[in-house]
């Protein structure tokens, strides 16, 4: 399972039960990454996708439990720690901005047993630079 999250410069995810930010270019990027297998996410995250993109979404509140090997998941409002065993890669998309946050990604999860395999910068629609970081599990 590949898990994708959007973070600000302080690893923030949410403020007042709302996403910190969104970007249409990033949404397309994620859908392109998933290809035909579609993108697992919950109803809250599906809400930011346009009607014509919905055919590529696999919407379920238990999506992190349901997704299997090789599946792509988009996580906005929950912690991934309980699912770490089955996660193959963690893909962070950084806004390169600071927003208010009251729910953050626990970066310490990636301090041990994970390695940064790839980084890439691209321009968003409303964000000058979005940075993609791909972490994968170290081989035993």
């Amino acid at each position: 399972m590949h898990v994708m999250l959007c973070l600000d410069d302080k690893d923030g995810m949410l403020f007042h039960q709302r996403r910190q930010s969104q970007d249409r270019v990033l949404r397309k990027y994620m859908l392109d990454l998933c290809g035909a297998q579609g993108l697992w996410l919950n109803a809250y995250s599906a809400g930011q996708f346009a009607e014509q993109e919905r055919a590529h979404l696999r919407i379920d509140e238990q999506f992190l439990s349901l997704a299997g090997e090789g599946d792509y998941c988009f996580v906005e409002d929950q912690q991934i720690a309980p699912f770490l065993e089955k996660i193959e890669t963690v893909i962070l998309f950084r806004w390169n901005r600071i927003y208010p946050a009251d729910q953050c990604f626990d970066r310490s999860l990636l301090h041990c047993g994970w390695t940064l395999r790839e980084t890439e910068d691209f321009s968003g629609f409303s964000h000058a630079k979005i940075t993609k970081e791909v972490y994968e599990k170290c081989r035993e």
Partner: protein, 288 residues
């Protein structure tokens, strides 16, 4: 009696006019400082459940902006706008150095980011309404207020509007205690209009403080806080971490009690290592 009334009534009317006139010239403040907790290391605190108080009739997708006139002490009042892409800047910001907001002082401290204690702090940020050197939109604000307090909230609104093209009702009110020339803080409220707050909804108070500096809000004068409070801790020591806000606290810091168990962890070592991991020092107990 009638002759006496003829003399008294004009005097009473004069007094009433002066009183009401003064009231009109004071900034309208919706928040009482008595209701705001003392600064405890976080740059802002949520107000009224983080829900803003905008009138129904203003929640319309029509852009406007208004800035209260300066009061009799030269202080800013409320800046209020309904912002969309039509109000946002199309060119780089110009100079604002000619404006001297109430309480303005030019003073430097080596440990302040950018060295200058005070910034000319836009109530409504330039990135939102493109107001440049508008004296009714600039207050004397610490670097900490500007960057740690207000900027993240401005960023969130600006990026939301750019992405969606929607409108956001946005109101910033400087809160002055008595006749102080420097605001104690600012109340920031925002609500996205087209989606009824689903995208943007907050009501916060940002503290006009600078960790490590004591400020006289009556005049704007300042001095470095006691060395004991600002001492850098080079030795190994125990710290309490808020993994949510990424703040480092001393174990006896008053803020520790408010950290939820899921966001609390303990660390023994040199805090420089934590800074490298993206943490920052609590302004209350570690004084930076």
């Amino acid at each position: 009696m009638q002759r006496m009334m003829k003399k008294i009534v004009p005097v009473l009317l004069c007094i009433q006019f002066l009183l009401s006139g003064c009231a009109m010239l004071r900034p309208q403040q919706t928040v009482s400082l008595e209701d705001i907790p003392a600064y405890s290391g976080e740059p802002y605190v949520e107000i009224d459940g983080n829900v803003p108080d905008f009138p129904e009739e203003d929640q319309v997708a029509e852009s406007f902006e208004s800035y209260a006139p300066l009061d009799f002490l030269g202080r800013c009042g409320t800046a209020y706008a309904c912002i969309s892409t039509d109000l946002m800047p199309t060119e780089e910001r110009g100079s604002i150095g000619q404006v001297k907001p109430s309480g303005w002082q030019t003073v430097k401290y080596d440990f302040v980011d950018g060295k200058y204690l005070y910034n000319r702090c836009h109530l409504i940020g330039y990135q939102l309404t493109a107001e440049n050197a508008n004296a009714e939109n600039l207050i004397t604000g610490t670097r900490y207020l500007n960057v740690e307090g207000m900027l993240p909230f401005e960023n969130m609104v600006a990026d939301y509007i750019r992405e969606t093209g929607n409108h956001v009702l946005y109101r910033v009110t400087p809160i002055f205690e008595g006749d102080n020339l420097v605001a104690s803080g600012v109340q920031m409220e925002a609500l996205s209009v087209e989606d009824a707050g689903e995208g943007i909804c907050y009501n916060v108070y940002c503290y006009n403080v600078q960790p490590g500096v004591e400020i006289d809000y009556a005049t704007g004068q300042s001095r470095e806080a006691d060395a004991a409070q600002t001492d850098s801790t080079e030795e190994t020591q125990e710290y309490v971490l808020n993994t949510g806000s990424k703040k480092i606290h001393l174990p006896d810091c008053s803020s520790v009690a408010s950290i939820g168990e899921k966001n609390k962890s303990y660390y023994t070592g040199n805090y420089e290592d934590l800074l490298a991991q993206g943490y920052s020092l609590c302004g209350n107990c570690l004084g930076k």
